[in-house]
Amino acid sequence: MPRRRIGVFVCHCGNNIGGVVRVPEVVEYARRLPNVVYAEGSLYACSEEGLSSIREKITAYGLNRVVVASCTPRTHETLFRNACEEAGLNRYLFEFVNIREHCSWIHMRAPDQATEKAKSLIKMGVAKSYHLEPQEELESEVYPEALVIGAGVTGMTAALNLAHQGLKVHLVEREKELGGLLSEVNKLFPTHRDAKEILDPLVEGVKNHSLVTIYLGSEVEGVEGFIGNFKVRITKVEEEIKVGTIIVATGARELKPIGQYGYPAMANVLTQLELEERLKEGVDEWQSVVMINCVGARGADRSYCGRFCCHTAMKNAILIKEGNPAAKIYILHQDVMASGVEAERYYRGAMELGVRFIRYDPTNPPQILGERQAEEIKVYHALIGREVILPAQLVVLTTPLVPQADNERLSKMLKVPLGSEGFFLEAHLKLRPVEFATDGVYLCGSARHPSDIRESVSQAYAASAKAAIPMREGVVRVEAITAFSQERLCNGCGNCLLVCPFGAVELKDCERGAQVAWVSVAQCKGCGCCVAACPNGAMQQRGFSDQQLMIMIEALAEGVSSGLR
């Protein structure tokens, strides 16, 4: 091992550190630590002046490790790493010691002890730096083609957006036609435009775009690889397709509430989608229509709200009422979900048109009265406090969208999780709603959670942006704090594989014939969970190895027993 030449730069940060910690004393102390060949104090290490000095000294003193003791690494780590790199030193041979937020600022009334603590922290940092190894950030190539699974309004929007950016797209659809759920819809909330008006341009767009290859009546059979380098098998396609990213846009399906409210036995009890089909042929002369919302939602069967089914119910109610102003239309609901500007306005419009909204209590749900078909509905009208009987020539059940039957199969294939309700689970509900924890795979539309067109299209664009990023960049760069397994030490126990939250560890055959752990650097996020789970130290983490962390503990303990804390 070449001799270590460690340089230590202790920052005053004006008065922030210097006003509490006796920096010159600390610099003297650092100078005498093993393997330290240079130490200096700096007024502001992060300033142009401070950084220049670091670069100069690396060259002048042949430093091969640099330790800066100043503020929190969370702000300036990149800055100092850059300075090292500019001076020709690998950026991972740099260690940051926090003597401001974690020392001078919290011990302002104890300068002696703060000074001793600063020395101790620097001793630990210098010890760790000794064991730092140069690292290269892995650049993994990203193949500039995408797979979009599902060609409904969501999938087609994403596919077209990527194609417009100049990226090739493989669009896989299991049905024989493009269009998804929207092909079953009649008119759209809130403008009453035809669904075809939205669908047709998208269908034309994907069919005519030279960069989009469509696979109808096909499904994804198998996926291997990782971001930038997925190999996909599609039914009816002989060769494997190579893609850089995958977008899941498989949508959802309407819940058919079999056994509830006389469905499907009674011929005049329909779901909203079935009503849409009927309405395509024109509005019938129904004299009374009762819609029951929240069937199969927000309850014991299914906890979630269908999000836009209130809109659908109102829309169909208005269409029927407009077609037959004398009809009595009732919507039985638990809450009217009409958030925002347009939906609230639409709701008011429905009321003004004469659609009657009746709130019911889920513990006392409506009842169908009738023998072979529905004739009346009995419901406890919560607002007036008594039961009412409503005439019902047609009963429409408003149900939520539910996950596709094959979500589980797809989730296993792509190594992405499902949430408790069976929809796909994104990386983070708030800030990463269209990404998966697994890099390179994205999610949009009702496959994630019931979404109306506006939301699905927005999500499609969002997923497209996320997928475009690595494809446009051409590479993914991984910070070199990833895990790696030392083959000769690994006994193939597989603990690491089990605990990795990102599926980045696999067991592979090695030269001596055994199965050993292997980390996909492109997938590894650097948490170190696998390292702690490894019984014999085969698995290590760059920059946070057992050796590096242990030496810090030993340096601290040595100080303790020798009188220096």
């Binding site: 937020e101 996020k525 962390l549 242990m550 601290l556 303990a557 303790v560």
Partner: protein, 140 residues
């Protein structure tokens, strides 16, 4: 554990939550006892039981692991493993006669600067009390 009255406490803090919480305590200038030394890890799950055992057996007075609140882990489940390992380790340590106060696991989020200060102050106090109890009786 050592003849000096002042304890030395090793603290592992995860980059995304507790280390940031410690930073916030600093930014807020919250005064606390100067006996802890923070070691940064990316996730509390990186901390292996051997570190804790090594630290305590080499004479450090206490070890604290700080992580994100359950459900908030940046790596989704890391802190669940931390919790399980910590539970087992605690039992093991007590079994060999090490006081439970000397190894603690706490959850600190990035916005809980005050909680960090409080936690450090509390734990330092607990360990100082232990060390005082272990003082040999005066001669004669």
């Amino acid at each position: 554990m050592v003849s000096d009255k002042e304890p030395t406490i090793l603290v592992f803090a995860c980059n995304w939550c507790s280390y940031a919480g410690a930073d916030l305590a600093g930014v807020s200038r919250l005064e606390m006892p100067p006996h802890c030394r923070v070691v940064r890890v990316m996730c509390s799950a990186r901390v292996r039981p051997e570190f804790v055992i090594a630290a305590l057996s080499r004479g450090l007075d206490g070890v604290v692991i700080l992580g994100c609140h359950p459900g908030d882990c940046h790596y989704s489940e890391g802190n669940h493993y931390t919790r399980r390992r910590a539970l087992l380790l605690k039992e093991l340590l007590e079994h060999v006669g090490i006081e439970p106060e000397r190894f603690q696991l706490r959850w600190i989020s990035a916005s809980e600067g005050a909680k960090f200060a409080q936690t450090i102050t509390e734990i330092t106090g607990e360990i100082e009390a232990l060390d005082r109890r272990r003082e040999p009786p005066p001669e004669g």
